[in-house]
Amino acid sequence: MTAIPLVFALLAAGIWFAAIAERFASARRFPSAIVLAPLWQAARLLSQQRVRTEYPDALNWALAPLVYGALAVAGLSVVPFAPGLVVAPLDTGIVLWGACEALTIVAVFLHGWSANSMLPLIGGYRFVAIGLPAMLLSMFVLIAAALPAQSLAVGAIVESQRSMWNMVRQPLGLPLFLLLGLAISLRGPMDYGDASDLSGGTAAEVSGPHRLAWGIARLAMLTAFAAMGASVFLGGYLGPWLPGPAWLALKTAALLLVLTWLGCNLARMPAPRMMAALWLVLLPLSFLDLVIAGVEALL
């Protein structure tokens, strides 16, 4: 219960930090007003005119950002801030994370579907084609991380990294996991849902406060994702001198920087080729990751 404010504090800081980092990565300079720029943009969106299409599926349209944001919170709820300091100390933490990923695909599809417009619909369909196989990858690398911990709880996985981080033990895990993070928070080389070639994809028809809600949910998912990656591969709250929550926040911030840099600097592949690459190249790589983790855990 005491961890719930911590979760929202981390989310708020992460959203603000990621918004700044993204501006910086795409502008490649540090304008003087960048620290407050996300707030100005939020204010502008809140006062912007709201446009709606003809006969949308209004309920699902409103539900999609809410579900997306709630899933980000749920994913962050199983991440421990310190030993025992966690909202939901579930034995099945990484299974819950997998369920969040699956439901995220549903939320993004619904957002694209319910506008009753062509471009969002294409974005939604394209996202499903990439999101489904990308989800498989992340589940494999999370299972590989669970092998030495002998538990599916995120807390146990963090504790199993006292001697060595999983990033070192399982070198393939983190890059594959980051790929999924880009996919489910809809950015960069894996941005098949909200891509600019579809003039915003699933968000093409939303404006004003609704677009703000969707953007916040996307950044919240990115933050939750970075915190999960930091816990599973970078030792989470473990570290000398500083208290646990501070270490988690620092590692989350580092992953956020890496993610936004990747998101702004990598090119996107055509969706069919990406789908084939996910199944034929990256899925065998995740098998290899599993074998490395398995052999290492037995030694």
């Binding site: 699902n60 034995d91 819950l96 997998g98 699956a102 489904l132 599916l152």
Partner: protein, 196 residues
């Protein structure tokens, strides 16, 4: 009534009502996600029934299955969004009767059977037990599930993929000629015999 009981009643109401609404809504996408809601409510009940792993895994399995279901709904229904009301039912009375009979029959059977009452221990390591069971006594089930899934994968590919290695599958296969560029060897397909 405890909080757990209240949660159970709410969740069962969600499961049954959304399961029923699946067949009453006009929008096909809504229908598939209502079914997903029903599954998630059942999964939550299973989590309360001390099945932490099966409950959580149901959520992700069913989320992706219903996602795919929605895609196929849009592909195969002439009115996927339900903009025009439609009614695609047959033998409605019979079906209502059959459904009600099944419910009443099963309920009576449940009420009049002497059910065993041995609860699972509160702190039982159920996930670990399941793992040992899968790798030990139920190994055969586990590996034959693999073969079954392989069969399902092959079957679905054979049936659904249009582009095979040898060109579009629905055009039928034509064996190569006896000499290069010549008439196909073997029996002439029936559809072409009729034309001649």
């Amino acid at each position: 009534m405890t909080a757990a009981d209240l949660a159970f009643y709410v969740l069962s109401a969600i499961a049954v009502v959304s399961g029923w609404r699946v067949f009453r809504t006009d929008s096909m996408v809504r229908a598939s996600f209502l079914l997903m809601l029903s599954f998630i409510a059942v999964a939550a009940i299973m989590l309360m029934l001390a099945a932490p792993y099966i409950g959580m895994a149901t959520v992700f399995m069913m989320a992706v299955e219903m996602m795919v279901m929605a895609l196929f709904m849009v592909m195969f229904m002439m009115n996927p969004a339900g903009l025009n009301p439609m009614n695609m039912v047959h033998q409605n009375r019979l079906s209502i009767g059959a459904g009600a009979t099944a419910f009443v029959g099963l309920t009576v059977a449940v009420l009049f059977t002497d059910l065993p009452h041995e609860k699972v221990a509160r702190q039982a390591p159920v996930i670990r037990d399941l793992g040992h069971e899968l790798l030990g006594p139920s190994m055969l089930i586990f590996e034959s599930a693999g073969v079954t899934l392989l069969a399902a994968m092959v079957a679905s590919v054979v049936l659904s993929a249009r582009s095979g290695r040898f060109g579009p599958s629905d055009e039928g296969s034509r064996p190569p000629g006896l000499e290069p560029g010549g008439e196909p060897a073997g029996r002439i397909p029936e559809s072409e015999q009729e034309d001649e």
